[in-house]
């Protein structure tokens, strides 16, 4: 057995040793000129030298360590200076799927049309390609927003490349992002798992939201956000609003998605009262009737005045797993209602839970118990005020008439 060992070692060493040797010699060849700054500067002038001065060591700490110069730089003949037809091998030669994604993106289309859009090297660099996990890479999570922002916070880029409908949002998107819970998690808390541009928009297949293939298209938003918010996506997809829920299968375009409540670039923590009120408005944009009746209740009234304590839509209906009251799993299903009330009203009982959270006294057929007291109170209000306003109006009129008569009647004459 041991007698075989030297042979095995030699066989294992051969394929590794041979290219290493070849690469070494090739690098040495390029290095002779491109590793000599004085020589390069002498040939091309100080203005171009930094692009051509590429010492071999530059790849040492990159993801491309071990590649030979000629694996990317091809198409020039031997001899110096090189032909201007010298070509860089397209990155997708190796990075196939990334190349495919980028080719499908709005960046590729604009790069082909105007040359004014990022190609691989704009984001990844030329020789210093570190990979997203490397802190010094522009594509590291902590650097991405600045990288994308270098174009997307630029008024010229927005003015030229964004549709009229998208311009307004595009102008504020990058700045807003830094204020959001996602942005501050990165910039303030240094949390690299927080979403940055590419987590929602894709790194390579960046497409406008109105494109069906875009990760930020309405239809794809739950999946995009759900990539990180796995637990929320799970319950949401089975909720009344979810694609797998009881209501929305036939009507996927009308259903609300994450960004309708949470917005795209102004995302704030869900415990901010100002945001909570905006969500009530959002619910009301479809659920119009219950929105109105909600504001007839104490819950709605103090919420509208800025309370963060009183029940809002999501406090009873849940934020993501809402279901119709007729569904067994619904938080407002009759059998579950008491538990829902008790989240705030610890001492609530069955009676308490039969409160009409959206009672409308004007609907006589549906709420007869509320209709009659309401009618009585309204009649009392109108009756009493009507009677006494008439009383007052007549009184004033009589006093005015008497005053005018007293002025015009001769003294001592009877009125």
């Amino acid at each position: 057995m041991l007698a075989w060992l030297p042979w095995l070692l030699a066989a294992a060493a051969l394929p590794v040793g041979a290219p290493a040797l070849a690469q070494g010699s090739q690098v040495v060849v390029c290095e002779k000129c491109h590793g000599n700054r004085d020589f390069i500067t002498g040939r091309v002038g100080a203005g171009h030298d930094s692009a051509l001065y590429v010492p071999a060591a530059v790849l040492e700490d990159t993801r491309h360590r071990g590649l030979r110069c000629t694996e990317c730089h091809r198409g020039f003949e031997a001899g110096y200076p090189h032909q201007v037809t010298a070509k860089v091998v397209p990155c997708q030669t190796c990075h196939e799927s990334e190349g495919r994604d980028w080719t499908a993106s709005i960046h590729a289309a604009n790069a082909a049309a105007t040359g004014d859009a990022p190609t691989c090297v704009r984001c990844h660099g030329t020789h210093r390609v570190y990979g997203a996990a490397d802190r010094q890479s522009p594509t590291h999570p902590l650097n991405v927003a600045a990288l994308c922002g270098s174009c997307h916070a630029d008024a010229r880029i927005i003015g030229t490349y964004f549709s009229a409908a998208d311009k307004a949002q595009a102008r504020t998107a990058v700045m807003q992002y830094f204020q959001t819970v996602h942005g501050t998690a990165l910039t303030r808390d240094g949390l690299v798992v927080s979403a940055t541009c590419n987590d929602c928009h894709g790194a390579h297949k960046v497409l406008p939201a109105d494109s069906a293939a875009s990760s930020v298209n309405r239809a794809n938003i739950p999946r995009t956000c759900g990539a990180c918010h796995v637990g929320v996506a799970e319950v949401f997809e089975h909720s009344a609003h979810g694609a797998k829920g009881p209501r929305m299968q036939a009507d996927t375009l009308r259903r609300p998605v994450c960004t309708d409540c949470h917005t795209a670039h102004a995302i704030v923590r869900a415990d901010q009262p100002q945001w909570q009120l905006s969500v009530v408005e959002e619910c009301g944009s479809c659920h119009e009737k219950v929105y109105e009746t909600y504001f007839e209740t104490y819950h709605g009234q103090v919420t509208r005045l800025g309370s963060g304590l009183a029940a809002k839509c999501s406090d009873c209906h849940t934020a993501h797993s809402m279901l119709p009251a007729s569904a067994l799993g619904s938080s407002v299903f009759p059998g579950n209602r008491l538990a829902t009330c008790r989240k705030c009203h610890a001492g609530a009982n069955e009676n308490f839970a039969r409160y009409y959270a959206h009672g409308d006294p004007t609907q006589r057929a549906k709420y007869p118990l509320l209709f009659w007291p309401w009618l009585f109170m309204t009649a009392l209000l109108v009756g009493v005020m009507g009677f006494f306003l008439l009383h007052t109006a007549l009184w004033l009129t009589r006093l005015a008439i008497n005053r005018v008569r007293a002025r015009h009647a001769p003294t001592g004459a009877s009125a």
């Binding site: 009234q301 005045l305 308490f352 409160y355 005020m385 009589r398």
Partner: protein, 282 residues
Amino acid sequence: MTRPLDASRRGAGPYLWRFTPMERVLHALVIVSFLGLVITGLPLRFSYAPWARTLIRLVGGLQAAGSIHRICALITFGYFFAHIAHLTYRLLHTTDKLGIFWGPNSMVPQPKDVRDVVQMFKWFLGRGPQPQFDRFSYMEKFDYWGVFWGVAIIGTSGLFLWFPEFFARIFPGWVFNVATIIHGDEALLALSFIFTIHFFNVHLRPEKFPIDTVIFTGRATTEYIKEEHPLQYERLQREGKTEALVAPPASDAAYLWSVIFGFTSLGLGILMIVLVLWAFLH
């Protein structure tokens, strides 16, 4: 000090007592607590109005508004039961027990009040003389019973809304919907009535304009009693009881505070009416 603003100082004659210290204190408590309740409750009833949030901010936020509302509710229950207790005390200690329930010194509506209402409308329409009132006109009785009914019904519904978990032990859940309706609508009626009709009847009509401090100082001139309550004056003269009611004029300080307190209350009340109208038109 001349007191040009005060209707209770009209004409000549010595001052006569009209309200007891107890009545004046209770009425001041009614004013303070009612204004507190309206200012902190109105923003909820009209939460959609553009002024609602501002008003809440002015009183120190929602938490403060809630506390003020409940403190004023306690004051309301306080004066309500103080009055009941006082009535009971009087009933037990007076020799004229019937007088509390009937006759010119009673707040109970009587046939003469109905005749006075009819007569008042006849006078409005120019078909007869103005009715002559005794100690309490039908309007004053309506104010009195309005507060009685209002405190009972707003107070009860308010307690339901204050302690829903307790009341749900006995009552079904829909009573809280009904309590919300009653509380809001009856409060709207109360403030609409007091800040327009009551204000007009006792302060703003030409004979009283701009203010009548009799409820604060407790006294008015004989001339005032003769004009506003002629039957009472005749009765007092007939029975020889006028002398016993003669009062010294109120001090300058009492007059000043009455006017300041009265105008502040009038102003706040009228402001509330403006806010309600604003909300309705919005």
